[in-house]
Point group: C2
Chain length 490, copies 2
């Protein structure tokens, strides 16, 4: 049927939606949520139908949102509309909800439809909740990983050994990647690291690296950077490596769901897309982190080892102390300062120690002897720092010194009102305060921590400073501190 | 924070949504999908946040859709916005997804939030999929039924015996309700029947009854009709009996999910809301119906008996032949013709027989002797027909004779091209053809079936006629017949 475009001048921000008049829909027995195929000038797109019976969309019209108009490269005129076939994926999602196993072909079909924006939010939610409530077995995770890898581009570095690392997250200030990558790369080992931006933390590795250099590159540029420097620290979201994965993240937010099978497939797909042969996984655990108990962390470790075995990738998993932030700075610039200081032979001990430990573990995986000594030499000699400068330059950056990094011009010192020891330094509260102060978008916002767990504290001692580039946001952050002080002194 | 309303002049048709500028959202660490409390002039509403970074919503503005503006009874000016607390329901939904049991309090909280429009589509989908994939036990179904009943109004007829009936559906033309209700009501027994409109069938009982009278009444009016005539046949969707239920139906469509626990709670809630003490359930089964095998139908029967036992309601469940449509007319007016004919002592035998059987079963539940004889007398004597006229009048109708009902002015006879027997008369195909011809919105559209299962057919015999008020829709229907002929002759 021919319908006249009514430009709704609005972005849905999600799946492709179009609005039909109820008479037109009835004529063709089209119901809300059905899919139609819209064609114009040789282009075609599948969109989900919403039905209007309030007169906004007249008979013979079709209301289109910006996404569909952009895709069709049009703004007015007629389009040809037919009912699209029922997506096979929907049957497969239903099958998973019923607790059945999905075949490789079925998982590929689902990922294909996710990637093509064929599934709407409700349908995507059904898939995520099916994975959450029914689980995926190792074979399914393997196939899903494959499907996600094939849904995007790959790096194709053609090297025998490619190292990668991953942290299961949840710990503020944990910027070991930015020290480990230059150490490993300076030893002639390839380590092409893609990272995420913060979702609920004050800074992801990409946000912090961005304080020093660009992080958004396409596959060709990333290849060039790695070929030049052996390493990179780029934002995974800017390239379409494992792109289907990013679309699933949105519907996971409302219930904060992390279906384990999806999570594993998502991480492994990103590693496979860069061609990783050796992966070090860091799982911090302890009160205030993602995993409260060692048992929970251990259970994830087992799953990681299982899936890497199935995929034929060498892996080592370390469980680390996640009870408090790592380093002193929290927020992009404050963290980047810590990182540069460590690389220059200074900086917070805990961050330095963790980076040395992680780098040593990587060398051990590669059967390199005297691993720890090599790593420490590499740091102390300035070789790692020089490599970092090379990478920063390759990523079009020009910040090499801690002093070049600004901190928020509005600040407030928070002092202890009692004496004792730091009994708790809660990651979640640190994160909340730093975010409300403006991190990660405001690069200069965040916290600087002067005391860590078990430190003795006198009444009146400085505990931490909050920074922001906005006095209003600093006030908001101070409000939050009243409710949720990151420090418990007892 | 104070934000200026930007009227988006658009209906979302679903949950309450508002759009914030990304700077404002960042200031308060608000993420897409978070909930905000919007206040103006003493009214307040919780809405889900979408975030705009394309300049459409400027800093200091908030984009509001029609639903929110209507609720706040405003179109411009400032609103006060604060981050709303995380809904407890979300934690409960997550719990269910993890396979845990929900308490009465938790189910009540979820239903309360559904009813208050506090859950968005994604969240509602998580609830429906949790119920589907993890199931509900009898205690949960009981509590959910209670929660849904309390979420809406109740009929409060204050009578010792109130009869109700329900059909699990899927069979075209199955309009026994419109014969059973007048029979039972004419015997002095209260039967306040609420029905649905068609979702995927050519006509629901409400659509067919609407061919004769109004079906949309509020609780007070329904009470008046029942007090006057002992019965009614009204549309459940027009009253807020068990209203939370209707909101769940929308997200079930994309995957055609019928989570059994939700389904049972939804049906029982509607029966409880009218105060039913005795319920007859009809479960048609067989090829082309909702339940292919007797085993499946029997499994649902068991669940129905269990839940009615828990709720202390008398119930009888009958399994009936669902392999083909009941009666000859399909579509509102064509079905209503059949119904009036049966009540006047004529009409299709199968419809008459099924109505007699169902009415007899109801009388037997009430321990009335010679039940079948009483029912047949009631039909043959015209007493049931007179009662039907009374009910039609009470529901402001004025159609009492089959001849008063129009059929589509465009029609096409479909003849058999071979000889043999009717081996299949597929419900789904009958339904599809009738819908495309215009049913249920076009009351005059539909099919008239001249042959039923196992009838002998000669080449050239008339199988059925398709009716429509639109020549275009008749053409569409004929296209469908080419792909999916309802008749298989062999």
């Amino acid at each position: 049927m021919k319908l006249k475009i009514k430009n709704l001048s609005f972005v849905t921000g999600g799946p492709f939606v179009s609005v039909m008049n109820h008479h037109d829909a009835d004529d063709r027995d089209i119901k809300p949520g059905d899919r139609i195929l819209i064609r114009k000038n040789g282009k075609k797109i599948i969109s989900v139908v919403d039905i209007s019976d309030d007169g906004r969309i007249k008979k013979g019209e079709i209301g289109l949102f910006d996404e569909v108009l952009n895709y069709l490269n049009t703004e007015k005129g007629d389009v040809d509309v037919t009912l699209a076939k029922r997506l096979k994926s929907l049957g497969f999602i239903r099958k998973k909800l019923e607790g059945k196993r999905l075949s490789k072909k079925e998982l590929f079909e689902i990922v294909r439809d996710i990637n093509a924006n064929n599934l709407n939010e409700v349908e995507l939610t059904y898939f995520v909740s099916a994975c959450y409530s029914q689980g995926l077995n190792m074979r399914e995770i393997e196939d899903l990983t494959d499907a996600i890898v094939r849904s995007g581009s790959r790096l194709n570095l053609r090297r025998d050994i490619i190292v990668d690392k991953h942290c299961s997250g949840g710990i503020s200030g944990n910027r070991t990647t930015m020290i480990v990558v230059p150490i490993i790369a300076s030893l002639g080992i390839i380590i092409p690291k893609t990272s995420s931006r913060a979702i609920s933390s004050p800074a992801g590795t990409s946000d912090t690296m961005e304080a020093l250099a660009s992080v958004s590159f396409d596959v060709k540029e990333i290849k060039r950077i790695v070929q030049k420097t052996n390493g990179c620290m780029v934002w995974g979201g800017a390239v379409d490596l494992a792109s289907a994965d990013d679309k699933m993240i949105k519907v996971r937010h409302p219930l904060s769901l992390d279906p384990e099978g999806l999570l594993l497939a998502s991480i492994m797909a990103k590693k496979k897309a860069v061609g990783a042969t050796h992966i070090l996984i860091d799982i911090p655990y302890g009160r205030g982190s993602k995993f409260n108990t060692k048992k929970q962390a251990f259970s994830l470790k087992k799953k990681f080892l299982e899936i890497s075995n199935v995929l034929g990738i060498e892996m080592k998993v370390v469980l680390t102390d996640g009870r408090q932030p790592v380093g002193n700075g929290i927020g992009p610039n404050l963290e980047a300062k810590d990182v540069l200081k460590v690389l220059m032979g200074d900086g917070p001990d805990d961050l330095r120690d963790k980076a040395i430990f992680m780098s040593t573990e990587i060398l051990k995986m590669l059967h390199i002897k005297n691993a720890r000594k090599i790593v420490i030499d590499c740091l102390n000699s300035g070789v790692a720092y020089n490599k970092m400068k090379e990478i920063i330059k390759a990523q079009r950056g020009d910040i090499f010194l801690p002093e070049q990094l600004e901190v928020g011009r509005f600040k407030k010192n928070i002092y202890s009102t009692r004496k004792g020891r730091v009994k708790e330094l809660n990651n979640k509260n640190v994160s909340k305060v730093a975010r409300v102060a403006g991190a990660p978008l405001d690069k200069t916002a965040g916290l600087y921590l002067y005391k860590k767990l078990n430190d003795t504290v006198k009444s009146g001692d400085l505990l931490f400073t909050v920074y922001s580039s906005s006095s209003k946001r600093l006030d908001y952050a101070l409000d939050i501190i009243k409710e949720r002080n990151p420090y418990v002194i007892g």
